[in-house]
Symmetry: D3
Amino acid sequence: MGLHHYSQVIKDTVDKLSESASYKGLCHQVRDGEPFPSSEVLSEIIALSRALLFPGFYGDSIVNTNTIHYHIGVNTERLFDLLFQQILAGLCFDNNCDSNTEYNLDFLRESALKKAAEFIEYLPKIRAVLATDVEAAFNNDPAAHSQAEVIFCYPGLRAICNHRIAHKLLELGVPLIPRIISEMAHSETGIDIHPGATIGASFTIDHGTGVVIGATAILGHNVTIYQGVTLGAKNFPLDENGNPIKGIARHPIIGNDVIIYSNATILGRIKIGDGAVIGGNIWVTHDVAPGARLQQSNPKK
Amino acid sequence: MGLHHYSQVIKDTVDKLSESASYKGLCHQVRDGEPFPSSEVLSEIIALSRALLFPGFYGDSIVNTNTIHYHIGVNTERLFDLLFQQILAGLCFDNNCDSNTEYNLDFLRESALKKAAEFIEYLPKIRAVLATDVEAAFNNDPAAHSQAEVIFCYPGLRAICNHRIAHKLLELGVPLIPRIISEMAHSETGIDIHPGATIGASFTIDHGTGVVIGATAILGHNVTIYQGVTLGAKNFPLDENGNPIKGIARHPIIGNDVIIYSNATILGRIKIGDGAVIGGNIWVTHDVAPGARLQQSNPKK
Amino acid sequence: MGLHHYSQVIKDTVDKLSESASYKGLCHQVRDGEPFPSSEVLSEIIALSRALLFPGFYGDSIVNTNTIHYHIGVNTERLFDLLFQQILAGLCFDNNCDSNTEYNLDFLRESALKKAAEFIEYLPKIRAVLATDVEAAFNNDPAAHSQAEVIFCYPGLRAICNHRIAHKLLELGVPLIPRIISEMAHSETGIDIHPGATIGASFTIDHGTGVVIGATAILGHNVTIYQGVTLGAKNFPLDENGNPIKGIARHPIIGNDVIIYSNATILGRIKIGDGAVIGGNIWVTHDVAPGARLQQSNPKK
Amino acid sequence: MGLHHYSQVIKDTVDKLSESASYKGLCHQVRDGEPFPSSEVLSEIIALSRALLFPGFYGDSIVNTNTIHYHIGVNTERLFDLLFQQILAGLCFDNNCDSNTEYNLDFLRESALKKAAEFIEYLPKIRAVLATDVEAAFNNDPAAHSQAEVIFCYPGLRAICNHRIAHKLLELGVPLIPRIISEMAHSETGIDIHPGATIGASFTIDHGTGVVIGATAILGHNVTIYQGVTLGAKNFPLDENGNPIKGIARHPIIGNDVIIYSNATILGRIKIGDGAVIGGNIWVTHDVAPGARLQQSNPKK
Amino acid sequence: MGLHHYSQVIKDTVDKLSESASYKGLCHQVRDGEPFPSSEVLSEIIALSRALLFPGFYGDSIVNTNTIHYHIGVNTERLFDLLFQQILAGLCFDNNCDSNTEYNLDFLRESALKKAAEFIEYLPKIRAVLATDVEAAFNNDPAAHSQAEVIFCYPGLRAICNHRIAHKLLELGVPLIPRIISEMAHSETGIDIHPGATIGASFTIDHGTGVVIGATAILGHNVTIYQGVTLGAKNFPLDENGNPIKGIARHPIIGNDVIIYSNATILGRIKIGDGAVIGGNIWVTHDVAPGARLQQSNPKK
Amino acid sequence: MGLHHYSQVIKDTVDKLSESASYKGLCHQVRDGEPFPSSEVLSEIIALSRALLFPGFYGDSIVNTNTIHYHIGVNTERLFDLLFQQILAGLCFDNNCDSNTEYNLDFLRESALKKAAEFIEYLPKIRAVLATDVEAAFNNDPAAHSQAEVIFCYPGLRAICNHRIAHKLLELGVPLIPRIISEMAHSETGIDIHPGATIGASFTIDHGTGVVIGATAILGHNVTIYQGVTLGAKNFPLDENGNPIKGIARHPIIGNDVIIYSNATILGRIKIGDGAVIGGNIWVTHDVAPGARLQQSNPKK
């Protein structure tokens, strides 16, 4: 439509956008035969994982005791295949960005297969810890009618489920893919947990929109967090070029049985002691003693 | 791909994930012939409702005065059918979780039909109150060019629309489904309104990301709320086992003509009087008098 | 299903919902031959733009140096066609709402073609400024492993990309469409930037859920913003009817090299001076001097 | 994949295939703003027509007496819109091919609207004659259990339905589109009826694969035809260049109540008299008297 | 588009098409809660059946010895569910057409479940006889490179596969559904086998377009048929109203080891003896002795 | 649904269908990392080829002189990628069936890349010969209004187009894939041309349903064929086991300028001389002299 009078504009823009200088650092070129990270495939990976972990709640199969074995078999096999492919994509992507690394596709394939198998093997443990998360969410929320409602409807549980998957993949040395899986939960729920964060059992996030948990945060067991809570970094040591040094522990350590109310901001490598309660809308940058209760000063009337 | 060397891992994991002990409380088994709650069908239900309530803005039909009757006819009929099916799914789900209830599918079907019809009958009233919400949003926001822009673009209106649908379904005694409809709006807009909340006419939520309104909250007419506002519970009376007692009134009562600015947190069964203005980023846990204006104390420089 | 016994309810509701009085102001009627804004087409427009701006990261084409020219050609042509159609839809929508405007479809078509071509011509400049945003995000975040990870995974960058597109369209005088493009990013990332906001190069939003930037905000270069930050209006001058006057400058002006931490709320036409640092969870309604550092008063223990 | 070593081959081929001389007469270029014939849209047109003509058998709506009016309303409106667009596409295509015709898009639009309306107006008559075809098929086939089975399963009826639609469109002066509709039935059923053929009521085609009925054929009422029957042209008068002269009547005229068995070939502008029976696998190139019975000579043993 | 000037035409046509007299006998109304035959579901049924019968050739699963059991489990369970539903749809359809039958949905459900289970139980036998068909096609066709090619590419085998499924369903007393399954093969391959036909093992149809095999035909073992062959009825005894009497044996009986070449037409309840060879393009209406060879008389030059 | 009472039937059938003896010769197991022939990918290959050969008629791109180069570039690159993958799938499939061949995936990949590139290089020649076919069809058919109509609507041309693609792939030594491409045309048009057949320029098939052209047939230039024509084998020399010997020349050789009317059957390695005309419905098993005219003997009245 309307191309006649404007075709020169199109042609000129195409030429400009095709100049290699103009897309330097903004273009990704895949080597022959490499897979590429795919958000569609990763969505299927998450859907398959949820179907395996919570049979009958997720996945389109009508599960019953007689045939559940078939469904878990088909889903596990397919999960392994897709994971292998996306782990390989992550390894290639990483390799591609770091031009000093020697490149060996066969080696990367072997490595991806091994990591995919290790993840599959770990699935029963993920299910076991998620069972504690479901129970905690049910116990902590007077509005929850049943554990089934928690599994089926609670965004917090979905974000935690993605996190436990992404965290394991990160532990296995998979690049990029864990970050994308976290971002999928972030976009779906508004909860942004970096895959690097270490989180204990019986973890509850209620409502959850705006929650941020940083890469080096460590959370104990039975922690409860409300919407808008940040567990972030306070400041970043800079290198000689004035850029933040990567990889330093910079996020809080949260003890067991801690509750953090909505919109609280906890920054830096500080410790929040066991059983502490942090009130809403406050900014915490120093250690908090076990059992302490912090809250905002009174508003001006 | 690559299944040969890893097939034993897959087989072992399938066996572990198929052990019934491992999925106790995490698996949902549907009885013969029961429908199951479906987020795809519920998405269509919301789309049909929006098309009926705001003809020509939502829905893919090109509406005009001569043929609008046909479109509303087809959409209403389909909405009734789908609602009936999902209400039945909700009743069965609830029944399933509560093993003490006697189960009678025919009775549940009759009940679902009745509730679906009552909801359909109520649709004109939902349209009437949404008309006041649209007008309020237009009047409150200097950036809004027209009511049409509010209907077409404002996430706040979409969240309120889902809420008014979900709230009516909850009033009709439909389990689970209202919660899923709320969560759909939460995921789309970042606004989390529990279907139990009672909300008056001319309600505005601007921007809205991070808003949380609890199950027993009551809001008057002409209330305006900004992003990040929480109307939550302060603490929960515990039962003898240390678990929160379910169903107690625990969220704020907001009067008429109240404005609550961004990131304010209002907790507990307190009353915010008519015409009060609550400033941003503050934490309120006591009653506020009518016409009062609260704001944060000055930051430390 | 079950229509027999309830058909009268359906019929009556259809009649009520079809009464023109009941949908006054809530119904949109398109004139003959006009296109209508389509969120599906706008999604494709954003996908095409991302594929053109970051080749190989977005879009399903496997890009390589030999054939990139073909892909950019096809995508640019299609982008022009779709943009033309949606810009026209926006012009018609606007025209439709303002019944005093004289209506001339041929004139609107010419205007839409011209605006679409001007946008296409501007694409290389959008790519250039986004390159500075990518670099800034990488430098500011110790968790980022590479610029590629920023492009591929960071929601902040996606929101900024949509904003730079929407802002240009607004400058070209396109109604409604820029707002929808902003809302698409808002729904995907929880970041709500009004298309009217003016934002300098090297802009970073980290995590981002709950960020709100108002229509008349002006941001300098190298600004960094964290989750939950509001750059909003403090209050609105009212007209003689008590409604806010539209179009007045009412949002903050942020200088160069400013950092604003999570959940800070900055309201009104105030100035935050170059190099200032605003701490988290605070409410700022007065000018802040260049280089100043604001933070929350200590919480009550 | 594998583009590196073969990119020169691709580049050279692209250049060759892009030379305008190489696609002369094989390329179709649409003028600005013209629609193009679309087999997907035409499939929807046929589906809508079948849903209107045989409610409840075709179309995904569950029809009942109370709501059928809504469904027919929505389907008729949409059929009109799609038909208008495809008729316009046909007029433009035709115009495009004939470069001597003066081109006036507004005139073609008016013409397309008029033809679409005339077709819609004619639909009840198409339903009435198809009712005679259904009855005839049921009466002629001992294997048919009910008229419902004929409507739902018989390919002959689908081909006749497409033909009666295509024939009316041809009568209304619509180019190209009738031919595509015929070909859709041909591909689905193996029955190839040129839209120009004139066919009376109570027409039966049983099995039907391989049936060919030419453009100028005329069939009376109550004709029955089996698989593989050709009603074709014998030879074509040539013009001075040795090419067949277009538009001459060259196919058979079949009387009322004629039966033609499988694989019979009837060629040329001959007349088959009322009540004649033509046996299978024979070649007929002369007139056949009313009531005559032709059959193949005995095979050699 | 263009609705304004033509809306009266649309309205009038809608009214005419909605008059119940005009769709008498052409409309199908489903009773509450009944399923309806669905060509999409039946396509999935055929796809599942092919995947079960020829694992790895059909179906999207990558089969291997270790996991084939899971895939066959999931596919069999789903096939049972879908078959149950479509058999029920067939029973209801039949019941609906025959208004004298007393109607009992629960009884029909029980009956459908029983028939579905009997079909599932019979699947291994269908696989066994199809194995003989594959072998025969490979042996009979010099162009076939492997049995795998026959399974993967030969339309004859697909038609036979559909037939063996449809024939079993007919034997089980399922109405309508077998006919639709036959028609699906007819449309895909041009081969029209009535589900009633009885066909022995090692059956080959080569090329196949235009083949017709009637409802009461009986074929022995090791029969080979080429394209365009008809095994049809010669004439039909009429009842007192002049309509064909339904259900009489009227198609040929073909012995073992018979070959019938292309476009031969064999009509009536005649017997073709074992080992006979019927040449192409001939019409046979009398018995043929075992071992006989028939061919067409020489053409006139 | 209804699984409870019938689960034992399902379980038993699954066990039977999973016994390896029961699927011997009927199951295809892919080796690690091999692609598999995919009818969906092959459909896209044909669609891309048609879009390249007849720009603007096929493919969804709106072609114009200024941008056609971009479209042909993108389509050629994608065609190369998909072809490479499917050719590799064909080579693996063939290899898999022939267990004596030594297996080397890298070698097969190199081979597939080479064949894909050779095919791409040959595309301009396919376009050139198809141009003669289009012209011939237009000249031969008085019902054709334009060459554009032939390209857009004529099934004969689609079948010839698929054949010329499949034939080239066969010449390049690609297994299986050419056969599937032929079958796709067969299913769409009812025209069954074995990819091995050698066919000259200016070839016309009119109507075409039921046409069969065998693997070793050779056709000269300017041949015209009507529906139902068979160019087949008469009989097959048998090997010592009574099976047909594969690969012997056994189909007719047709000269230049020959016309063969509908349903004629021409069998065996005979020669039909230049300019001969074969009448409809006859069976020819001996050579026919140049310029001869054969027709059926008169039917018995």
